[in-house]
C-alpha cells in the first residue's frame, strides 16, 4: 500500500500552492489557498500571533525601543532623500528557521511512466500483501485484474481503438496518458454494467456522457497538466482495492476545489463512479465476509475473522 502513500504525498506536493486573489473584482481580495493547503496542513504551526503589549498606565506613548538598543547595524539616519539609503544589515535574520515552503508546481507532462512506476511499486506491495498473515486479503479477481492492467497496457491501445470512446489525436504520449486515465474508467463502467447491476441505465448513460466530455477535453488539449496529473493519481486510487476509495475521492474533491472551471462538467461522473464502485466493493466484501463466516462455522480456524 506504500504506493498509495507515495501517490498521496505526490498529490500533496503538487497541491500546496497559493494563488493571488481576484483584485479586479474584490478590493484587497485575499490569496487563494489550494485544497491541499486548506485540508492537510500537518506541518508545525507558527507561533500564533496573539500577544499584546500592555499599555502604559498613564496612557503616555512609550519611547520606541528600537533605536536605543545597542549594536544594531543600521547605517546612518533614515533617508529622507533616496540617495542617502544605506544597505540592510548583513547576517542572519534571527527569526528565520526553515526555508519558506513555497514548493513550485512542477510543470511536467503526465507520462505513462509516471503512472506505471507507482503501479509497479503497488504490484510489489500487492505480492507482499497476498500473504494472508499480513492481515489484509485481496480478492483474487482483483489481483488478477491488476496484473491484467499492468501487463495489458499495450493491449489497451487496441481495446481503446475498438471502444466506443474515440480519440481524434494520433498515437502520442498524450494519447497514451489519456488511455491510461480514461480507459480504466470506462472499462470499469463496462464491468459494472455487466456486473452487479445496482446501476440503472440512466445513471450509466450519465456517467459515460461525462467520460466522453473528459475524453474530448483531454484530447482537445483543454486540460492543464495539474488536472491530468491528479487524474492519473485518482485512477491509481480507484484501481486496486477499496482501501483507496477515500484517496480517490479526496483527489476528486481537490480537483473540484482547485480546478472547478476545468473539471466541473465531467468530474461529477467520476465522483459517482468512485461512489458506485465503492459501494459495490463494500457489498462484495460484506458478502465474502459472510461466506468466510459460514465457512468458519464448519472449520473453526481461530483468528481468521481478524483478517477483516
Amino acid at each position: 500500500m506504500t504506493h498509495c502513500r507515495a501517490g498521496r504525498a505526490e498529490v500533496e506536493m503538487a497541491e500546496l500552492y497559493v494563488k493571488p486573489g481576484n483584485k479586479e473584482r474584490g478590493w484587497n481580495d485575499p490569496p487563494q489557498f489550494s485544497y491541499g493547503l486548506q485540508t492537510h496542513t500537518g506541518g508545525p504551526k507558527r507561533t500564533p500571533l496573539t500577544k499584546r503589549v500592555a499599555a502604559p498606565q498613564d496612557g503616555s506613548p512609550r519611547v520606541p525601543p528600537s533605536e536605543t538598543s545597542p549594536g544594531h547595524p543600521i547605517t546612518g539616519p533614515p533617508p529622507l532623500s533616496s540617495k542617502a539609503l544605506g544597505p540592510p544589515p548583513l547576517g542572519n535574520y534571527p527569526a528565520f528557521s526553515v526555508e519558506p515552503t513555497n514548493s513550485p508546481v512542477t510543470e511536467s507532462e503526465t507520462l505513462l511512466e509516471e503512472v506505471l512506476k507507482p503501479l509497479e511499486q503497488a504490484l510489489e506491495d500487492c505480492q507482499g500483501h497476498t500473504v494472508v498473515s499480513t492481515g489484509t486479503r485481496r480478492p483474487q479477481e482483483e489481483i488478477n485484474s491488476f496484473y491484467w492492467h499492468l501487463s495489458g497496457f499495450s493491449n489497451l491501445w487496441v481495446k481503446y481503438q475498438n471502444s466506443k470512446v474515440k480519440c481524434r489525436v494520433p498515437w502520442t504520449e498524450k494519447a497514451v496518458t489519456f488511455c491510461v486515465v480514461c480507459l480504466p474508467l470506462s472499462t470499469r463502467l463496462e464491468a459494472d454494467l455487466e456486473g452487479a447491476s445496482v446501476f440503472q441505465k440512466q445513471v450509466c448513460d450519465d456517467i459515460s456522457r461525462r467520460l466522453v466530455l473528459l475524453q474530448e477535453q483531454w484530447a482537445g488539449g483543454k486540460l492543464s497538466t495539474s488536472v491530468k496529473k491528479r487524474m492519473a493519481l485518482l485512477v491509481q486510487g480507484m484501481k486496486l482495492s477499496s482501501h483507496h476509495w477515500e484517496a480517490a475521492d479526496d483527489i476528486h474533491r481537490s480537483l473540484m476545489v482547485d480546478h472547478v472551471t476545468e473539471v466541473s462538467q465531467w468530474m461529477v461522473g467520476v465522483k459517482r463512479l468512485i461512489a458506485e464502485k465503492r459501494s459495490l466493493s463494500s457489498s462484495k466484501e460484506a458478502n465474502e465476509e459472510k461466506s468466510t463466516a459460514t465457512a468458519d462455522k464448519t472449520q473453526i480456524i481461530p483468528g481468521v475473522q481478524q483478517a477483516q
Binding site: V18, G21, N22, R25, G26, W27, N28, D29, P30, P31, L37, Q38, T39, K45, P48, L49, T50, K51, R52, V53, G59, S60, P61, R62, V63, P64, S66, S69, I74, P77, P78, S82, L85, P87, P88, L90, G91, N92, Y93, P94, A95, F96, P100, Q200, Q202, V203, D206, I207, R210, H252, R253, M256, V257, T261, S264, Q265, M267, V268, K271, R272
Partner: protein
Amino acid sequence: TMATYLEFIQQNEERDGVRFSWNVWPSSRLEATRMVVPLACLLTPLKERPDLPPVQYEPVLCSRPTCKAILNPLCQVDYRAKLWACNFCFQRNQFPPAYAGISEVNQPAELMPQFSTIEYMIQRGAQSPLIFLYVVDTCLEEDDLQALKESLQMSLSLLPPDALVGLITFGRMVQVHELSCEGISKSYVFRGTKDLTAKQIQDMLGLSKTAMPMQQARPAQPQEHPFASSRFLQPVHKIDMNLTDLLGELQRDPWPVTQGKRPLRSTGVALSIAVGLLEGTFPNTGARIMLFTGGPPTQGPGMVVGDELKVPIRSWHDIEKDNARFMKKATKHYEMLANRAATNGHCIDIYACALDQTGLLEMKCCTNLTGGHMVMGDSFNTSLFKQTFQRIFSKDFNGDFRMAFGATLDVKTSRELKIAGAIGPCVSLNVKGPCVSENELGVGGTSQWKICGLDSTSTLGIYFEVVNQHNAPVPQGGRGAIQFVTQYQHASTQRRVRVTTIARNWADAQSQLRHIEAAFDQEAAAVLMARLGVFRAESEEGPDVLRWLDRQLIRLFMFHLRRSPFLQVFNNSPDESSYYRHHFARQDLTQSLIMIQPILYSYSFHGPPEPVLLDSSSILADRILLMDTFFQIVIYLGETIAQWRKAGYQDMPEYENFKHLLQAPLDDAQEILQARFPMPRYINTEHGGSQARFLLSKVNPSQTHNNLYAWGQIPANTFITEFQETGAPILTDDVSLQVFMDHLKKLAVSSAS
C-alpha cells in the same frame, strides 16, 4: 498568585470552554452590584475537545421535575445506598439500575473531576440526514453568476453524500426546482410580489397531503423518505449529476432591466418559500437555508429599496432622519421568517456579494437569530467568497463537519445565583424557572435558548445576577455552581448532549476583596462588556451607548472598542455595521479581542517578531508591521524597508537575511488567512502607500497634527530628523488614548465625590 490565576483561567477555557469575568464571586447581591462588571461568562458550548470522545450512554437526571440537573462531579454520592444528591436543588436521587456496580473505586466518568465537561451520545430516536437548501439570486452579472454556479457545483463534492439538497432560484419570479434522477427538470414558479403563508406555500408545492413531521410519525423503513418533499430535497449522491447540470444551465434572470433601474429581486418571497418548504417537510431537523444574493431585495415583501437607481439605498443618515422608507416593514418580514426558522430548528445563512449594500441591515435577524453565517463580499468571483464558502464544509480531526444543528442550551445555577440573559446567535425558549432573574441583560427571562446552527467556535455571553442577601452569608468555603447542558444534532446526525458543570468560590467583598480582584479576568470582562455594548447599540441610539460604556471604566480595551466599527457607525454603511456586529456577537474570546483591539506585530533584524503597542509610535522606518483586525490582515513596510526592497537587496545573495525578513510576516499572515472564518481582506502596503490608511486608522493617534510639535520629550526643532525613529503622525481628530484616559479619570473622580 497572578500566574496561577492565569493558568487556572486558561485551563478552564481549554477544558470547559468558559471564561468568567470574575473567578471568585462576591457573596451578596449588594457587593455584586457595586462591581461595575457583572458576573458573566463567555461559553463556547461545543469547543473542540479532541481528547474527549463522547460516552455512549445517556445522562442521569435529577428526579425533581423543576430541576433535572445532570449528575456531575460536584454531586455528593452515597455509594452504599446507591444515592446521589443534586448539587443544585439538594434532591436525593436513586441511581438507575445500570449503576448498581458503582463504588468509590468504580466510578462512572461523569463523577470524576476531570470530566467537568462530558459529552453523551444519545442512541435512541431516528437519525435524520443533514439538509442544505440553496436559495440563489439570478440577477447577477454573468461573471458573478458563473463563479457562483461553479462554487455551488463544487459544494456538491464537499457535502456529505447522504445529505439532502434542494434548489430555489429567484429574480423577478421565484422557482422551486424539482430534483429527480430522470434528467427532466421541472420547477414551480411563484410571483415575487405576493407574500404567501406557510400553508399556501405547502399547498402550492403539493406538500400538504403527504407532509409527515419527522419526529412524530416516522415510517418503519428508514431507507427512503416517501413524502412529497423528496421531489425538492434529494440525497446528494442520487442527484449530484443532474443538479450539476441544472446549476450549469442556470441563466441570468431573463426579465429585461431597463436603463436606470435595478433588477427586480424577490429575496423576501424566495426566503419565505424556503422557510415554508422546510417547515412543512422537516420540522425539528437540522437544516441550512443558504441564501446567495448579489443585491438588495427590490420587490414584494422584504423589499429594501425600490427599483429606481436614482433613489439610493438607505444610509445611516436616512435612518436617523427617519427617512428609510422600507426598513421597518422589511425588517419585520425577515424577523418573522427568522423566528419561524428558529422555531423549527433551521438556520439561515446569507452570502451577500455586491459592491453596494444588499440589505443586510434588514435581513440580519435571519442569521443572528438562527446561528447562520453572514458573509459579505464584493463579488462571487473572489477568493474571499470562494474560500469562505469552502470553509463552511471544513472537517474536524475526526473527519466530521464542523457544524452542528438544532441545539438547546439549558443553564442551571445554585440558589445564590440567577440567570439574567444571553447574548449570541440564539433565541429565547421562554423557559421560566426559579433560576431566572427579573433583571434582563441581553436576551433574558429564560433559562434556555435555542441555537439552530453552531460550530466549535460559536460563543455566547451569559450574564448572571448574585441574589444572595447580605445578611444571609454563604458559609465559609462555600462554592457556587453552574451547569450548562447543550443538546444538539452532531454533523454525523447523532443526537448528543454536552454537559459542563463548573464551581467557583464565594468571597466576602469587604474582607476578601483582594481575592476577588486577583481572580478578575480582564479579557473576558472586556468582551462581555463589549457584547452588552453592541447589544445596546443594536437597540438604542449611538451616543447613549458610548456614554454608558464610558461609565464602565475598563481601560484600554474600551478605548479601542469605543472607536471600533462595532459601536461607531461613522464611515460604515448600515450593512457593514450589521456585518461587523454579527461576527462580534458570536466569536470566541481570542477572536473577539482581536476585533476590539487589533493585534500588531513588528518584524526587524533585532530579533523574532514582537508584539508592539497599537500606537503610531510603533510605525518605524526599519520595521515591518503585521496587523490583524480580524476582518483585515495588513502588512506594512516601514520606509527604509520599502526602499531596500525597491533597491532589490532581497535578490542579492549576501542580503538573504533581508529576504527572510520580508518573508516572515508573509508566512505569518498566510497562517492566519488559512484558519480564519470568514476569510479576511489582505492588504500588503508600505510607507506612503495609499492602503497604509488601514493601519493608520487603527493605531492610537499619540501624535497627531494637533500635538505634533508639542508632544513628549523631543524638542520640536529636532523632530524632523528624529521623525522616523519616533513613529508617524496620524492625521485625525480622534482623541488619543492619553486624552481618553485623562478624561475617564476625571469622570471617575467626579462621580465618586
